[in-house]
């Protein structure tokens, strides 16, 4: 028993030790993303009404106000110091604290990411298993065609069609906005369609592979019922690449999907950072990258722990 515990602990500690360097790397990248382009946020701010054309003096004054005339290193260190105190800075455009705005928009993005993840998981995995179980029957072919379609249709093509059917014509679901559950249905479906198809196919393929392993033949020879073979012996191993895919997927939508949020008018993180990038609002860009980076790092830890559960070999002191 002791070797198993120390194996687990070693694994966990190794994962935790990664967190700080990753966080540092993300913070540096966040800062770089903010300042790497040669644009001048001062000019953009002063001309954002589309009418004013600021003179050199006004631009210089604005740059000084925003602290842009200092060296990059100084700006980075000041920012890092602020961050470690929990202050992500003030947006150039709205003059509101970045952290407040991020926290305000986080629930929207989490709702969207969460609902679409739920859709992907609860549709993809069972259907994938079903397809592997009922291999080559009519139902299998149909589901495979559907999965193929899911991964082949552009998401905003889908959104155009969905909105046209459900909002404009049937008037069953709202076309945009945020507030109630119906508001999140179309965006979640649009977001989930591609990943669901991919997951179904991947799950089917990995489960089929696992089912051809020797220990499965052994189980069959023992006379175990096929359902039990799949659920208990096949699935846990087949789930590993699937969990990886889900982890990647959730990570990618957790930052907010700028396109989906734009189409459905969801005030989430994606649209926030898009505006910030367009306006070269450095504090927001940096705060956003750091914020989502931290969430993602935390989420990865969870996923790594899920690996522990699924692959007994890791528990035995492997990688």
């Amino acid at each position: 028993m002791e070797t198993i515990s120390s194996g687990i602990w070693f694994y966990i500690v190794k994962k935790l030790a990664m967190v700080f360097p990753v966080w540092l790397g993300i913070s540096a990248a966040a800062f770089l993303l903010g300042v790497v382009s040669p644009s001048d946020p001062a000019v953009l701010l002063l001309s954002m009404d589309g009418i004013s054309t600021p003179g050199a003096q006004e631009i210089a004054a604005k740059r000084h106000e925003l602290g842009l005339d200092r060296s990059y290193i100084l700006q980075y260190l000041t920012w890092l110091g602020q961050v470690l105190q929990g202050n992500l800075g003030i947006s150039y455009i709205t003059r509101q604290p970045v952290l407040d705005e991020l926290l305000l928009r986080l629930p929207v993005t989490v709702m969207l990411a969460g609902s679409s993840l739920l859709l992907v998981m609860l549709t993809g995995i069972p259907l994938g298993v079903l397809m592997a179980w009922k291999k080559n029957t009519g139902g299998d072919f149909l589901l495979r065609a559907a999965a193929l379609a899911g991964t082949s249709l552009p998401s905003f093509w889908l959104s155009v069609v969905l909105i046209w059917i459900f909002a404009e014509n049937l008037q069953l679901l709202p076309s945009s906005g945020y507030g109630t559950i119906p508001h999140i249905i179309l965006p979640a479906i649009t977001l989930a369609a591609g990943a669901t198809g991919a997951l179904m196919r991947l799950q089917r393929a990995t489960l089929l592979e696992v089912l051809e392993q020797n220990y499965i033949f052994a189980a069959k020879a023992k006379g175990l019922p096929p359902s039990r073979i799949i659920w208990r012996h096949g699935l846990p191993n087949a789930l590993i690449p699937v969990v990886t895919l889900l982890g990647n997927y959730f990570g990618s939508v957790l930052g907010g999907s700028a396109v989906i949020e734009a189409i459905y008018s969801l005030p989430g993180l994606g649209s926030y950072v898009l505006e910030a990038i367009r306006g070269r609002d450095y504090p927001v860009i940096q705060g956003y990258v750091l914020f989502t980076g931290c969430i993602f790092v935390a989420f990865n830890l969870l996923v790594d722990l899920a690996y522990l559960r699924l692959n007994p070999r890791i528990r035995l002191g492997g990688k």
Binding site: M18, A205, L274
Partner: protein, 278 residues
């Protein structure tokens, strides 16, 4: 027997449609009836007719010609970008997964950082610095997708590495390179093919999303994703503007995936006398 026939019919169909699409892309300059960028202001938004088989778009350009030239852009770029991502993702994933130790740690660090970075911001930052265009698009798409790829590959490699027969070969004196070439990579092939083919589809869609944000293909280039965007305004009265490029993308992505599956089954080291799977 009948199932095998059904499956192989599907595969043959997929191969044929892929061939059609690729030839459309290659021979577009020969087949297309008009210059795809020829603006004809008096013939805008025409329905399908003998003169314009698929009608015209809002600038009076022949839609069929744009579709054919669009194949060049969409297919060519997508395959290129998917190849780059796969190469980068596989090499780094295999390196990390197989050799482990410090290399693995460093690569995992990189993967975590890149994955923790929001893809959109990275893409826009790259496009912002390099200026919008195909080169920055390629760089942006590759840099934002290699990490996820390499993660999956690494997971698979770890799984394969732990198989008992690998230990056996090593104890028989097999070198790392031999094991990689003979056992690890071929075993990866199955999942890789699926991932690559899905990746091609994703790239086509990513490029279209970037066009939505203003970073994709520049006008007046015909690109299927961009054509869908343009169609969003007019599709209620002129549905072919939306349906045609959508169906083309659907056809491209599905046929690539199916052909990928067929290849995987053909070259798989597992002696699968069972039916092919797709």
């Amino acid at each position: 027997m009948s199932v095998t026939n059904k499956a192989s019919i599907v595969y043959k169909l997929a191969a044929v449609s892929l061939l059609l699409l690729v030839s459309a892309a290659v021979f577009a300059p020969v087949i297309a009836p008009y210059d795809p960028n020829l603006v004809m202001p008096d013939e805008t938004l025409q329905p399908c007719s003998a003169k314009h088989w698929l009608g015209t778009d809002a600038l009076g350009r022949d839609f069929l010609s744009r579709l054919l030239y669009g194949a060049q852009v969409s297919i060519g770029f997508a395959v290129l970008a998917a190849l780059c991502t796969t190469l980068l993702g596989v090499s780094l994933g295999v390196l990390g997964g197989y050799f482990g130790g410090v290399i693995d740690l460093v690569l995992q660090l990189l993967v975590n950082i890149f994955q923790g970075l929001p893809g959109m911001s990275l893409m826009i930052a790259i496009a912002g610095s390099l200026g919008p265009g195909s080169a920055s698009l390629l760089l942006a798409v590759t840099l934002t997708s290699w990490a996820g790829f390499s993660r999956i590959v690494r997971g698979e490699v770890l799984k394969i590495k732990e198989e008992s027969y690998i230990e056996g070969i090593r104890s028989l004196g097999g070198s790392d390179w031999y094991i990689l070439r003979r056992y690890i990579l071929p075993n990866l092939f199955n999942s890789l093919i699926i991932l690559f083919t899905v990746r091609v589809g994703t790239v086509v869609l990513s490029v279209a999303s970037l066009s939505f944000l203003g970073l994709g293909m520049q006008p007046p280039q015909a690109d299927w994703g961009v054509m869908i965007l343009d169609a969003k305004v007019y599709f209620r009265s002129y549905p072919q503007l939306l349906l045609a490029p959508g169906l083309c993308i659907l056809a491209l992505c599905s046929s690539i995936q199916l052909v990928g599956d067929a290849l995987r089954d053909r070259f798989s080291i597992r002696q699968n006398t069972q039916q092919q799977d797709w």
